[in-house]
């Protein structure tokens, strides 16, 4: 280990502001990016599932009332 104490490590020989400022912003961005992607993915999956289920329900209703020969996007 190169450092003598934690304070020594945090001070970075009077360059603490610059070193930790770099580390902080890099960490925020590199943790934030995958979290944003996961959130977007969940939104997309939820939206598509809702849409597919609605289409299936429509399809069943149309089949019961004998309208199944209509084009899918007629409603």
């Amino acid at each position: 280990m190169y450092w003598h104490s934690v304070a020594d490590f945090l001070a970075m020989g009077q360059h603490g502001l610059y070193v930790w400022g770099s580390v902080l912003v890099t960490a925020i961005l590199m943790i934030g990016e995958p979290l944003l992607i996961v959130r977007r993915r969940k939104t997309v999956i939820t939206r598509l599932q809702r849409q597919f289920h609605a289409e299936q329900a429509d399809g069943r209703r149309m089949a019961r009332s004998g309208e199944s020969n209509l084009p899918r996007n007629a409603h």
Partner: protein, 253 residues
């Protein structure tokens, strides 16, 4: 030979690429974490101080890997764009779109850490010299690519327009890389190059290379995650997306 070709084209369809990417992502995250922990502990805990720059030089372990990635991701993005233009494959455009935000992120990290490194060493946050300016143009190219694609509703047309912008922008990459040779700049020359032995202590070099590997693994993992989401959005009218999200109620993530 022909078998191998068929094999590759099979994975070029989103339908077979989607589950494959899903299996690969955790492994790339694991590798990114291992390389990252190793590289950062060498860089921040064990590497000796720099004779000229003191402890401030440790920004190198973030700055150099991010700068390498910013250029390399652009090349990969332009490669996929070129493949998409030539062979009109669906996957290529999705890969190019998936890479752009990550490339922009690394470019921003490169500029940010560079400014924080420049202040104590050069006495200024920013100078309009060749290396810094061309890296800033790279950020604008990424943002331009993302904005152009977002402005066009039809994804296939957006892919084509973006691909042309990406390919024209490739000219900037050698300008960034060789700027410290071609012009007199405040920015120092390359610490590591392919043609001569590195001008830095071995432990510093290892820390930097491990951090760069971690950034590689991170970029692949993140790009695959984003590509999978783009696939679901763009292929929502196809049967495989429909089956994937209805039959198993979205458990196949």
């Amino acid at each position: 030979m022909s078998h191998r070709l068929i094999h590759w084209f099979r994975y070029a369809s989103p339908q077979s690429f989607y589950p494959l990417a899903g299996k690969m992502i955790p492994w790339f995250w694991l590798l990114a974490a291992l390389f990252g922990i190793a590289g950062l502990s060498i860089g921040f805990l064990f590497a000796p101080t720099d004779a000229q720059q003191g402890e401030g030089y440790r920004i190198i372990f973030l700055h150099v890997p991010a700068s390498w990635m910013s250029m390399f991701i652009y090349l990969v993005m332009a490669f996929w764009a070129a493949i998409g233009l030539t062979f009109n494959t669906r996957l290529s455009g999705m890969m190019a779109s998936a890479l752009a935000p990550t490339g922009a992120l690394f470019t921003f990290i490169s500029l940010w850490t560079g400014a924080l490194w420049g202040k104590p060493m050069w006495g200024t946050w920013w100078v309009w010299d060749a290396r810094l300016t061309s890296e800033l143009i790279l950020l604008f190219l990424y943002i331009g690519f993302i904005a152009l694609q977002a402005a066009i509703d039809d994804p296939r047309r957006a892919d084509k327009a973006g691909a042309i912008l990406a390919l024209v922008g490739v000219v900037n990459i050698p300008i960034i890389y060789f700027s410290v040779k071609w012009w007199n700049t405040l920015h120092q020359g390359a610490s590591v190059s392919l043609t001569r032995s590195p001008s830095m202590a071995l432990m510093m070099l290892w820390g930097m290379l491990l951090c760069a590997l971690a950034c590689w693994m991170y970029a692949i993992a993140v790009a695959l995650m984003r590509a999978r989401t783009i696939m679901l959005e763009r292929e929502r009218h196809t049967e495989w997306v429909h089956n994937l999200l209805t039959e198993r109620h979205g458990q196949a993530r």
